[in-house]
């Protein structure tokens, strides 16, 4: 008996979510390679894009990976986590399918609008607005409707998780919330609080603006609303990764989670602090008082706490596994870990890379040193470590373990699967370190041009040369796409294979934590309390600055953007 036998309806839902996620992953990944080669000037002439279409590719890469791949994978994975940990089917499969349908239609609309950038003349005008879609860049309304439907669909899925939980609570009035469900619910509280920002931005401003109903919008206001959502969305990507690191990685390592209450504290901290931090993306924006930027910085730095708690708890759990497998010594236990298991290797390497992403994140968040790297290629270097590896590589690793349980088919191409995380890791190491160093040398982001070519002396690297940085980026991007293709071969092969040929090589058993939920205070499970505090913190951080932006006219920019 595996998951698909217990919950065939839910398993089908998860499979469809994963299917869409992997298709988006494939297309977005290929776009990434095009982009990497084009702007590093490798095979530039041979690539089927020009400098204008580079931005179409860039938008496609960002939207398909950071918004579509992530959201579908997360919503699917949470269906699995909720049903498994509550040990009951969903409140309503039908409602969950409605959510899936909304996300699917939204994705199709937005993707069509973006792909129109390649061939004007298709029904929608282009939408080369990048995945950070704020004014003044304007897309075809189809893009904004698509984005709105995607978010609304995820809200519906979230409602299904909460309704399933409510049913469970009625049957188990005194039990502690199972850990995975606790993580799903807290993640979605955070998601509801934060995605309101992008919903207002899109529905109130961008859709009427793109339809021509209103002539202008206040760029600072829409930008602030976007970043109100734009930073918490990274935790929406990250927390499912955390769910895997806390509840699955210890099992993959052969051990047990070190502490269940510590995991709950971490997720509560993310509910509280994820949203009132968005201004740290706008340190150089005029029109926002420095004090509020400082509050955002303080909150961001406080978010290091749950991440460092996670680093400790997860590593201790992995070490527990290594010692149960017979490992010993201060560092010798690392050798006892199952590094040839793709699920373990992928999740562990993703966690390791996230530690590196944490370094650059601290620099992004520091108000003064942020100026050094703001809008340089350092920033994509940073988020390819976080969403591009901490989330993406974890998602792939979890798939190696979960997809057999969702399909009832053993994993195919195991050897390919066990090499794949390492290829990704090496590729990302090359690409990301080069991007960070390029950013320190001042190379801008969001440009199609292989800058550094003309007047190369303007970009002085700390050591080595711009040419070497470009080579590493191109090589890294290529390896990443190779790893992506390896993953897709394994998934497609598994998916298309016949069921029932042999037993699975995985099991769905998740061992109990060393320190269980009952060792932590009950208040941790008081979701209403945490939601309330989170809303208050948001009002403190955003109330006055948003108020001042609206006060000068809701559609009026605050000041003339040119010298008069």
């Amino acid at each position: 008996m595996t998951y698909v036998d217990d919950y065939p309806g839910a398993a089908k839902l998860v499979r469809w979510h994963f299917g869409v996620a992997f298709i988006a992953f494939a297309l977005g990944g290929v776009f990434g390679l095009l982009q990497g080669l084009y702007r590093t000037d490798y095979f530039r002439e041979a690539l089927p894009i020009d400098a204008t279409q580079y931005y179409t590719v860039l938008t496609g890469h960002g939207v398909l990976l950071a918004l579509v791949f992530t959201t579908f994978f997360i919503c699917g994975m949470f269906v699995w986590a909720t049903t498994r940990s509550l040990d009951r089917p969903l409140y309503s499969d039908r409602l969950a399918w409605v959510g899936f349908g909304s996300m699917f239609v939204g994705t199709a609309l937005a993707a069509t609008a973006i792909l129109n950038g390649f061939a004007p003349g298709l029904p929608f005008d282009s939408a080369d607005v990048l995945y950070t879609f704020y004014a003044p860049l304007k897309a075809h309304p189809a893009f904004y409707f698509g984005a709105a439907l995607l978010v609304v669909g995820s809200w519906i899925l979230g409602a299904v998780y909460f309704l399933t939980y409510r049913e469970w609570r009625a049957d188990n009035p005194d039990a502690r919330i199972p850990l995975q469900t606790f993580m799903v619910l807290t993640t979605f509280i955070m998601w509801y609080v934060s995605s309101v920002g992008v919903a207002v931005e899109v529905v109130v401003f961008l859709i009427p603006w793109s339809l021509g109903w209103i002539g202008q919008v206040d760029p600072l206001l829409t930008r602030s609303l976007f970043w109100y959502f734009g930073h918490p969305v990274v935790y929406f990507w990250l927390l499912p990764g955390y769910l895997a690191w806390y509840t699955l990685l210890p099992k993959f390592a052969g051990g047990r989670l070190f502490s269940d209450p510590l995991a709950r504290v971490v997720f509560v901290l993310f509910v509280l602090l994820s949203t009132p931090v968005g201004f740290h993306h706008q340190y150089i924006d005029p029109g926002i008082a420095d004090g509020f930027k400082f509050i955002a910085m303080t909150n961001t730095m406080m978010l290091l706490l749950p991440s460092l708690l996670t680093a400790f708890t997860v590593v201790a759990s992995v070490e527990h596994g290594a010692r149960q497998r017979g490992g010993d010594g201060y560092l010798g236990w690392l050798r006892a870990l199952p590094w040839d298991e793709p699920a373990f290797a992928g999740t562990a390497l993703a966690g390791l890379m996230f530690a590196a992403g944490g370094f650059s994140g601290m620099i992004n968040a520091g108000m003064n040193i942020n100026y050094l790297i703001h809008n340089t290629i350092w920033v994509p270097g940073h988020f390819h470590l976080t969403v591009g590896t901490a989330f993406a590589l974890t998602a792939m690793a979890v798939s190696y373990w979960l997809v057999p349980q969702l399909t009832g088919k053993p994993l195919r191409h195991r050897r390919l699967a066990s090499i794949q995380p390492y290829v990704w890791f090496v590729g990302m190491t090359l690409m990301s370190n080069a991007m960070h160093r390029g950013g320190l040398a001042g190379l801008p982001r969001r440009t199609a041009e292989p800058v550094g070519d003309a007047g190369a002396s303007a970009f002085d690297t700390v050591f080595s040369t711009i040419a070497e940085i470009r080579l590493q980026i191109a090589l890294g991007a290529t390896l990443l796409v190779v790893a992506l293709l390896m993953f897709l071969v394994v998934m497609l092969g598994t998916w298309l294979s016949r069921p029932g040929v042999s037993a699975l090589s995985v099991n769905g058993h998740i061992p109990e934590p060393l320190s269980g939920a009952s060792n932590g205070p009950r208040v941790l499970d008081n979701l209403k309390l945490w939601t309330g505090i989170a809303v208050v913190l948001v009002l403190l951080a955003y109330g006055v600055p948003l108020g001042s932006m609206v006060a000068d006219g809701i559609l009026n920019p605050g000041a003339s953007p040119f010298p008069v």
Binding site: M1, A51, F118, G121, A458, N507, P563
Partner: protein
């Protein structure tokens, strides 16, 4: 240290400029505006300054009929408050073209006001009525002005421009600006550009006003789009403050530098443009409000010469579009395909918690892993984790130190500058 910052600032700006230039240049190839119509003021012939006052049916456009053998001008067409117009009021033709004047209302003639020195056109002085017509062939290059004597007072005036270029398309330079004047280019739309290219071909000296009214203030080049003959000297005259002239793009072998220093009212400079092609330029401080302009050097092509329909944007690559549309369709078909391959899989039963007792029911999982050595909460000391946390902390410190000194590496390892 200060120099290092300055260098970096300069280089980033340079990059932005370079980026904008390339993007616009790339876009240039994808658009064909095909507007061959020129514009000129004929030294005020159609304005209040000339006898008869303003010609209402002249909208500033010289209808371009170069390259055609026969052209018709209607005499007594609707306009100027009655049937008192030549239609078109101003027309450009190639040398050797025969122009036929056709009367469509009564009591008009064609009186010649001026013509090129060595031309001998006589017009048609007798007053004629509807149905009459006569033809003249124009050989001599230049501007011919004429009017209707009985209706001069209401502005019934016309002009014919005989110019090289028609039929000899290799000389012609189409007024193709790509998306330079639209929202798609840096700085957005140019409000004072109305789609017309002012035709000043044949003149030796032409003036462009810098900082004229437009674009929501004194943020316009006037005229925003200008056509001149090769070798023309263009003088830029500042009439308001804080402007410069930055070249966005120009023909490949041209080397116009514009005037990058920012200047104020009263400043002027001249440039002689010899190379045929399209020159785009803008005012850097006011690019964001659309202070952009362009100069076309060379004669206009014939209206119906050349391929694509005027004013439309042709897709950059239909092949690529097809490929991507196909990829999207294939991606959407994939689930169907997968379903086809999986047709042999038995239908999974509905929630079937009941079959548990049945041996062999459902999918067989791998056995749960047994630890080599069971470790409980109290027996477990995460010393290895402590060691790794210490390593992480050291890396963290090292990275911060590295980060701090990055800014100083250009000079030396110092914290006090």
């Amino acid at each position: 240290m200060r120099d290092a910052i300055a260098d970096e600032t300069y280089s980033r700006r340079g990059v932005l400029r370079a980026t904008a230039g390339t993007a616009a240049a790339a876009a240039l190839g994808s658009a064909a505006t095909g507007s061959a119509a020129g514009q000129t003021d004929f030294d005020g012939w159609f304005t209040d300054d000339a006898p008869g006052g303003t010609t209402d049916n002249y909208d500033g456009e010289v209808v371009d009929r170069t390259g055609e053998d026969e052209v018709t001008v209607t005499v007594g067409a609707d306009g100027n408050g009655g049937t008192f117009a030549f239609e078109p009021a101003a027309v450009r033709i190639s040398p050797g073209t025969t122009v036929t004047f056709e009367w469509v209302s009564d009591t008009h003639n064609v009186a010649v006001e001026s013509q090129p020195d060595d031309a001998g056109w006589e017009g048609h002085d007798p007053i004629e009525n509807s149905g009459f017509s006569f033809s003249s062939t124009f050989e001599t290059l230049g501007v011919y002005k004429y009017y209707c004597d009985p209706h001069l007072s209401v502005g019934m005036k016309g002009a014919i421009v005989v110019a090289e270029g028609g039929g000899e398309q290799e000389d012609a330079v189409p007024a193709e600006y790509g998306d330079w004047f639209t929202d798609d280019a840096p700085g957005g739309a140019v409000d004072n550009y109305d789609g017309e290219t002012v035709d000043r071909t044949g003149e030796d000296e032409v003036t462009v006003t810098v900082g004229a009214d437009g674009n929501g203030g004194t943020f316009a080049f006037d005229p925003p789009a200008l056509r001149v003959s090769p070798g023309t000297t263009v003088t830029f005259e500042w009439v308001s403050d804080t402007h410069n002239v930055v070249v966005e793009s120009q023909p490949e072998d041209a080397a116009w530098e514009g005037h990058e220093p920012i200047e104020n009212t009263g400043f002027s400079f001249s440039a002689t443009l010899d190379t045929r092609g399209v020159y785009k330029y803008y005012c850097e401080p006011h690019l964001s409000v659309g202070m952009k302009a362009a100069i076309v050097v060379g004669p206009a092509p014939a209206e119906d010469g050349g391929g694509g329909p005027a004013g439309t944007t042709t897709p950059f690559s239909p092949l690529l579009g097809t490929v991507f549309a196909g990829a999207v369709a294939a991606a959407m078909l994939l689930p169907v395909l997968a379903g086809y391959y999986r047709r042999d899989q038995p239908e999974t039963p509905e929630y079937d918690d009941g079959v548990e007792g049945e041996p062999g029911a459902g999918t067989q999982e791998a056995p749960v892993e047994e630890p080599v050595e069971e470790l409980d909460h109290d027996e477990y000391d995460p010393m290895g984790t402590a060691a790794l946390v210490a390593v992480y902390f050291l890396i963290l410190v090292a990275m911060w130190v590295f980060m701090y000194f990055v800014e100083f590496l250009g000079n030396e390892l110092t914290v006090i500058g």
